[in-house]
């Protein structure tokens, strides 16, 4: 069989998949790029070419800038908290105690729940009239009266971040736990004999084993957090007073609520570009980390 035929056959075998990918990813992408240079509406007008007007308007508009800040804040705070919580949970679950296996299984539960279920659950907890959080805080005497956690611009984003952390720290914990179990018992024992205390053992002995897997978790979680949509849509729809409006929410509103397909498309492409930059930066970081170890 000639090399030529082998390569032809390979392409033939991949053809069905290529067709699917081009039609569901390639074409929509191309069409989105085309749309982003028009003033098309979602319904009715096909729109005419407006050059980079959409981009200029979006990038200089206060909505975009505010959403970018909100998204960055959401991503940085929730991912940081998830990493810290996750590692801490993994360290605890790596200890010997009764019921450890059951607790490990339980811990995965929040992550295994669909986001919509999780979001609904937290909306109930935050409910201003009968929410568990209000009840608990009042009974503890920490607040005087029930508050609308999701209804006040000052607390809505924080409340969302907590809900997001609760859902996503188990993933980090799971990855960290797997990494912890890869730390050879002898090395930990050697560090004990060498006189390293708990903090130094973590820093010098455990951390080198954790760093690589945690970096992967960090990459995954940051990119996901930057694209966050569903949990916010279910809990606050970007409100109150746009205080929880992240980039993805803004894209949705622009394109579908306000039916401005053209500027919505340009915004979507800007978000895509931002996430791509993040992904590329992290990939480089991962390669460097892999080279160093």
């Amino acid at each position: 069989m000639s090399a030529n035929w082998i390569s032809t056959r390979a392409w033939l075998l991949m053809l069905p998949l290529l067709v699917v990918m081009v039609s569901v990813i390639g074409w929509p992408l191309v069409d989105t790029v085309r749309l982003s240079f028009t003033d098309a509406k979602l319904v009715g007008t096909a729109g005419s070419f407006v050059g980079i007007d959409n981009y200029a308007k979006m990038l200089t508009g206060s909505n975009f800038q505010r959403a970018l800040v909100t998204t960055t804040w959401f991503a940085v705070v929730s991912v940081t908290a998830e990493m810290v919580l996750g590692v801490f949970a993994a360290l605890l679950l790596n200890q010997q105690f009764r019921g450890r296996a059951a607790l490990r299984a339980l811990m995965i539960l929040p992550w295994a729940l669909p986001t919509v279920v999780n979001a609904t659950l937290w909306r109930l907890i935050y409910n201003p009239e009968y929410g568990a959080l209000n009840a608990a805080l009042t009974q503890l005497g920490l607040i005087d009266s029930y508050r609308s956690w999701l209804g006040e611009p000052g607390s809505a984003l924080t409340a969302l971040i907590i809900a997001d952390c609760w859902k996503n720290f188990p993933l980090v914990a799971l990855i960290a736990l797997a990494a912890l179990q890869a730390v050879p018992r002898d090395i930990t024992a050697a560090a004990l004999v060498d006189g390293a205390g708990p903090f130094n053992r973590f820093r010098f002995v455990v951390m080198p084993y954790l760093a690589g897997p945690l970096l992967v978790a960090l990459v995954l979680r940051t990119i996901e957090a930057f694209k966050v949509f569903d949990i916010i849509w279910v809990m606050t729809r970007g409100g109150p007073a746009n205080s929880t409006r992240t980039l993805s929410i803004l894209v949705y509103q622009e394109a579908f609520s306000f039916q401005r397909a053209g500027s919505g498309a340009s915004l979507a492409l800007i978000v895509t570009l931002l996430v791509t930059v993040l992904a590329v930066a992290y990939a480089a970081l991962l390669r460097r980390a892999a080279g160093a170890s």
Binding site: P184, A189, A190, L192, V193, D194, G195, A196, F204, S293
Partner: protein, 361 residues
Amino acid sequence: MSAVEIRNIQKRYGDVETLKGIDIVLESGEFLVLLGSSGCGKSTLLNIIAGLAEPSGGDILIGEHSVLGAHPKDRDIAMVFQSYALYPNMSVARNIGFGLEMRKVPAAEREKAVRDTAKLLQIENLLDRKPSQLSGGQRQRVAIGRALVRNPQVFLFDEPLSNLDAKLRMEMRTELKRLHQMLKTTVVYVTHDQIEAMTLATRIAVMRDGRIEQLGTPEEIYDRPATLYVAGFVGSPPMNILDAELTGRGLRIAGTEEVFPLPESLISAGAAGRRVKVGVRPEALRLATPDATGIRLTALVEVMELTGPELVTTARIGEQRITACLPPRTSLAPGSTQVFSFDEAALHLFDPDDGRSLLAK
């Protein structure tokens, strides 16, 4: 002064008794080898001395103070692990100096100590490397260096040579012996390799099922094994064990008719008319010359294996097999009947029921 005192140490995991009361007193400068097959409890005992495991009963004294419940770092011990257990992210120098670093020894002093240790182990040129860039033998040197640099009261070795290939293992064994002779340190060394035990130890504790089967110098263990187990475990090829009977006049090997007169002292060791197990080391056997004295065994030669320095010959006496280490140029043929002989002094007698030696004083 005793360096380490192990008093009635017991260890249970649930219903399983891993250590059933171990007593050893170790003098300063001794090299004690805990020898036994896997699962005999030797590593558990070492971990208990190190403080990596807590005993279920008994006491451990290091430098005449009880260290029960003390943290490993406070026991003045250093440990070398089978897997080397080097910190993969640190350089060789930092690996060696890590214990000193954790004990807040000033950097200059630490550096000097690391350098001196590296020189002693001939790994000065490796100080800047990472463990992943080292060979197995080099890693083991670094692991030993990490223990040496702290100059502790007791060194604990957990099968340190078993990950090395045969040639390197011999080199490192000699190296360890050299270091011990030079530094006169107190060592507790765990191994299942009887050659390592014989060559390195000043005393050997042969362990079996959580008990000490015999504690003695290598010569005692080899020349006067206290039990059948020790006799079979130490020595390669292992000691020949034959069924026999003590008669009023002497010894009769099962499957033979001849009775060999034994000195009164040997016969009285066991009661006349009783069954015994006879032990004789393969290297004590030789081909009998017509005027040979001692005990003679007529056997059918089955297999001969030339190892180089000796000809390991397997032969059959009735239903029983014996192995003899003969000079390499011995001319023998498989299937031939030969007479082997050995001196009375090389004879061991064991109780067939409890395996204890009948010659022990």
